[in-house]
Symmetry: C2
DNA sequence: CAGTTTGGTGAGCATATGCCCGCGACCTGG
DNA sequence: CCAGGTCGCGGGCATATGCTCACCAAACTG
């Protein structure tokens, strides 16, 4: 005669753990109070609470639109082996995702800028990058160095619209190192000459030592920013696409596996590839439907160590 | 032109709080780690976590059958102003709820028995009470005193079946004070005589000083335990019901508002009403469909300071 | 424009928490 | 019946947490 099937000691232990967990997490009691309530020692109460958690009796969920973004961040980190990931909440179906991304990205950059130790921060180009810079608060960051990866001379000879470094340096009051050369240099001789300039070598050396590099990621559709803004011709665009280009970072095109394309346009680019010192990180900033393919490629090719994007884009990248 | 509706500072603060809360409760990071992760001071991280909780962003739920019981306990405590409440999980629709209640109730009593300081513990009668006692582990409680509220002599002159004190005292090895008198004493003279006995006066004085009193709660239906077990006659039962009795505690009947009925049967009861010292508590133990009405009445009349019952019964009491 | 108030910030400290360790009870196999 | 092993328990300690206090900066007010 087995008399008491209801008295499984395991069950009773779990019941007690559940009770302790309830008191701790729901009731907000301290472990001392729980110990008194259940008439056990504090250590026992601690073990019960711990058991309730480890047995998965306690479920915590975050009631906030950002919860989804946090889950996406975790997934992106895991899937692509990224260090820094931030996903900005959607502002609604009709709203440009870059709008929501900008302040979120700015807070990430601000965190670097607030470091008291001197940092070398390199900047690429892009609409989202520019929007981020607009959101930076006024600061005083004399200790850091801002480096531009891209030339500051537009095809028409004016200062490039794409050049975010001046604006950034102005806002955060940091020493800055622009690249004194055109974005695209057709003549190989002249290009070589530029690359011999001492100040450009300084910038290149700094870029290689960057603690963090923020870059936009461009797409190569018919409305590719490089083409629309007049940096490259329709012929260049077609050529790169024929070579497999699906995106570009700082005017350097790459294919769908994130491998840089060294032929054609790459021979005329005036600027530096996204890079940083060992232990630093290259952080991509981009959002929007057009950016899904180039981002996926850049992530596959490990061109990025971090990603700041929008909820919709993150979903598309993981989908 | 209001430029940035997406930048409500309140929203940003809440977003940060949500992020911190997620890292703390879901990710299990310490506040120091969160501070490092978000690039803020630990104090700020602590405030964010606290804000996430206070704004109700964090929801905790207990994934366990006992969760419902805990909720019922909280409701019973609040609704009836009780100190000690324990609701035993249901073992299924067909199973006697007393079976599940017994070990739960035993753990409550055990907690009192484990007190190193001497306690006076009074005991009433009842099936659930008896079942509880059966579940007590062997202990050594020389410091306490066990008091019986009810006579230990059954109508046929034998030791009463209802007498739980001997069994309890035997199991927990505590000094015990049974009531040396019949449960029902028909002759008023003899009853008066009994009440004059010095040892009975001692017991009565101890009962009034009880730290805790455990009592069953009987019903007054046709199958009332008092009647079925032969302590009272069908006539007595009918009389008490006519006087409004819906339940009894230690053979003392009360009406639907929990007021003791002093006429009729009460004149012949041999024993003490459930009582305890100021600051002590009277704990009712009962479960089952029949007990809902008497329990509701006893709770309404503040006859009980604590309640040990089953899930189904608790639901019915609150329903 | 100066004084005031309010909201937020970092320092410091008392308390709560988590964890390691030694002890004793219980179980198991001889 | 006993020796060895295992498990769980409470003591104690390093660390994390929550809270209070004094301060600062921005907004408000006379």
């Amino acid at each position: 005669m087995n008399k008491k099937p209801a008295l499984d000691p395991e069950d009773r232990a779990t019941d007690a753990a559940a009770r302790a967990g309830w008191l701790y997490y729901v009731g907000g009691l301290t472990q001392d109070q729980i110990a008194a309530e259940l008439g056990v020692s504090r250590q026992r109460a601690q073990r019960l609470v711990s058991k309730a958690m480890s047995e998965g009796l306690i479920h915590v969920r975050l009631e906030h639109r950002i919860a989804r973004c946090l889950a996406l961040e975790a997934a992106l980190k895991a899937q692509f082996g990224l260090q820094t990931v931030r996903v900005a909440p959607s502002l609604g179906p009709g709203v440009d995702p870059v709008r929501g991304l900008a302040p979120v990205a700015a807070s990430v950059m601000e965190r670097f800028l607030r470091q008291p130790d001197p940092l070398i921060i390199a900047l690429g180009t892009g609409r989202a990058l520019r929007a981020m810079v607009e959101e930076l608060p006024k600061m005083s960051c004399e200790q850091h160095k801002l480096i531009s990866l891209i030339g500051n001379i537009a095809p028409d000879g004016s200062a490039s619209n794409y050049d975010v470094i001046m604006r950034t340096a102005d806002t955060v009051r940091a020493p800055h190192y622009p690249m004194p050369l055109p974005v695209i240099i057709d003549d190989p001789e002249i290009r070589r000459m530029f690359y011999q300039l001492p100040q450009l070598k300084i910038v290149a050396r700094l870029a290689a030592q960057a603690d963090v590099t923020f870059v936009g990621v461009g797409h190569m559709t018919d409305s590719a920013p490089l083409y629309v803004d007049g940096f490259i011709s329709a012929r260049d665009l077609a050529e790169q696409r024929a070579l497999g280009a699906v995106g570009e970072i700082a005017t350097w095109c790459f294919d769908d596996r994130g491998r840089y394309i060294e032929e054609g346009l790459a021979q005329r680019v005036g600027g530096l590839k996204a890079q940083c010192k060992a232990g630093g990180q290259v952080i991509g900033i981009a959002a929007g439907q057009d950016k899904v393919v180039p981002l996926a490629a850049a992530l596959a090719g490990k061109l990025l160590d971090g990603l700041l994007t929008s909820e919709e884009t993150a979903e598309a990248l993981l989908g």
